[in-house]
Symmetry: C3
Subunit: 332 residues, 3 copies
Amino acid sequence: MNADPTESLENEASLQLDANGRLRHLLTLDGLDKTLLTDILDDAQGYLTEPGVLPASSQSLAGRSVANLFFEASTRTRASFDLAGKRLGADVLNLDVNTSSRKKGESILDTIYTLEAMHVDIMVVRDASAGVPAYIARHVLPHVSILNAGESDVSHPTQGLLDVLTMRQHKGAFENLVVAIVGDISHSRVAMSAAHALTTLGIGELRLISPPVLAPDQSRVPGARLLHDLAEGLADADVVMALRIQRERIGNLDGIPGIDEYFANFGISRESMKLAKPDAIVMHPGPMNRGIEIESALADGPQSVITQQVTNGVAVRMAVLDRVGKTMAARL
Amino acid sequence: MNADPTESLENEASLQLDANGRLRHLLTLDGLDKTLLTDILDDAQGYLTEPGVLPASSQSLAGRSVANLFFEASTRTRASFDLAGKRLGADVLNLDVNTSSRKKGESILDTIYTLEAMHVDIMVVRDASAGVPAYIARHVLPHVSILNAGESDVSHPTQGLLDVLTMRQHKGAFENLVVAIVGDISHSRVAMSAAHALTTLGIGELRLISPPVLAPDQSRVPGARLLHDLAEGLADADVVMALRIQRERIGNLDGIPGIDEYFANFGISRESMKLAKPDAIVMHPGPMNRGIEIESALADGPQSVITQQVTNGVAVRMAVLDRVGKTMAARL
Amino acid sequence: MNADPTESLENEASLQLDANGRLRHLLTLDGLDKTLLTDILDDAQGYLTEPGVLPASSQSLAGRSVANLFFEASTRTRASFDLAGKRLGADVLNLDVNTSSRKKGESILDTIYTLEAMHVDIMVVRDASAGVPAYIARHVLPHVSILNAGESDVSHPTQGLLDVLTMRQHKGAFENLVVAIVGDISHSRVAMSAAHALTTLGIGELRLISPPVLAPDQSRVPGARLLHDLAEGLADADVVMALRIQRERIGNLDGIPGIDEYFANFGISRESMKLAKPDAIVMHPGPMNRGIEIESALADGPQSVITQQVTNGVAVRMAVLDRVGKTMAARL
């Protein structure tokens, strides 16, 4: 929908804050400043409790309605936003939408205007097309908030936040951190949002490792090193993140005729992790293809922080929902 | 299911009130008296708040359970009832039912008896077959309420209520009002329920404008003028409502070989609205086929009250839910 | 998943209680002692209210999250657990899962670990494969509870509890009770769980009546009499329970070429009920095939307690949810 993605991203960044600098929409992490990111991480940290203890909750969104508008299928991100909304006291509406119903039915803006008219003030949007969350954000009423829950291969800002929160919990400061993200970088909104957040937070070194055909344009990730060799990428890394790969893409990669070759060349394993720092952590956004991009034993081993990422996901979404709710309340 | 629709409607009307004249079911607006309609509109008006402000809420249905039983697909009406129920404190159950599951599974009454046995006291029913809501209402326990959320081409009472509420907000009294409803009248439960409500409220003139083949039997709408010419129908109208047309019906209309011809003959546009009163309002029940039954710029223009209809929809449903809940409580 | 079902069942029984003998998971009724079963029935009885009165509710699970994970389609059991959870104040998450999504996506354990990481502390699982609930229970964190909501043809413990609660309400003590369960016993998790509960509660006589090809192994139901003649099975019975039969199975039964023959030989009717005690009650787990395994007039007649079973179902599920919630709280 946007001819010039650079211009679009710039616009999105400014679109996200209200006149007083408060977070109104969360469309992308690109362009949000370090203070704001840190504040969200701090808020999220405050929502964490031990397993078994009651999860944190409040009534800060009591009376507000949140709609989950997932035009692309999702179980885990939808469930995470659903629980986050409910634990803040909101009424959560899960809408049964998909691309086919949109085709035969009304336009996406008419769906949004309808929800807006029903006093749904926060809309969580996942869509397979680039530009949809920003497009919606440009058309809603002044008090309505749009949260991007996954946008094509462009961005997935709450995932980026939960990823950097997880890194901060284990590694503290970002200045000297070496983070290696491995896999299908070019199609990964997860990698893009992690790159945005890490760049803003002042990471030491960000390495994006992939087969050449799955590398992103350097212009999309100006501060990152693009690598094609796993050993070089993992050397002395503090954080190693494997990305989910679409199985059907594997057959089309040069020199990678099958799953075994992909795993041998770009799969993260206990063996390949020996190249990283001894205390390196292993991350994955889920859902995992065990044995393809990550060795099963590594995913379940002591270096893995994968389930912690999930826990942080709910906390980050509560922090963002609470924050845009406060922005809304401040308007009155 | 009902051989004689006239007799059925008469029965439905009496079925809707309990021995003390309180609303128990909402099956049709046909036969409900002016005082009751006005009371519901007044209650609904009381639930309206400004955009951005918290929507009205109460705990009047706390502890009660409402089941949305949509045997026909719906996003907007289901969402509207869902929010209305939650904002009154009810537990809302959205059941995954459709005609195919009913065929292979149990009878509709067994589904209803099951929900009733689970202490679901309010059931919101949408069905593609005529007579289903009344059929169910005749079989439930004395305290259970059935709300019709769209019944074949027969009636859609909460839509009728939200439509007259919207007219009242803009035009005040109904006595001298000229209302023009345009489109596929014969298949429109929306038009039928609007006609029922407007007749009871003492409308000045109701015009139903359609191609001849889409005109209703005059006996279904005794007080209305049936017209086939758009210019005649819109002349000096106070309210113009366009109905959604099924695209596949257009090819079968005499002299209307395609969408362009339908729009030219029966589409509402800024141009055709010049025939109506200068302060006429434009309505549509949604979802819209922009460029077919309504010009896109008109739908988004200053005369349009279409999103206000949606807002009124939640308020009307809260008013009805609250009212049948009070009828239930009065039995004890 | 379990090579030796006997060993598995033994393990499951011990797996269900924590070190202090409190109920942690509900996987099977086999092996739970009489005191515990009776305590659950007593709790459930306390949740029952008259139709029309507000259903019982509490805040005992406030702040807790319950996920309904139905890998096999269900409307009534899912709705029953949904309402039970909400009436105890829990946040209820209904997950859109089915076997096909599991195939292409992540493993079942990764789904469970994800929910666990989101602080979902109670998972209600229905699955078409034997052993899945116990398999999950062996892998979750110490405070997490797994409730079996229907497991292949192995067990359906909350159904067993609601069945014996219904019998107790009508017949009081179990010592001299004659219970006849009729139909496709070999594929019936309902019959298995009823058998487990009735055996533990000290039933007088349990008769399982079916065509020979649908009889279970005697080893699965050691205390029961396996019969193939309806008249013999119903003679002087206090309780008669018809099971749902898959229509497609009927054609493959020896001497039963069609529905009429099945009904004649194994259908429960007002006529065949004359063989049972005059005050015998008629049960069915639902959904019913009226005219196949049960005569329609009998299902709606004075001996039928079928809707009461549904009511008891919500109460039993509240009792179980509340109990595992208390076990969780006692850990802290």
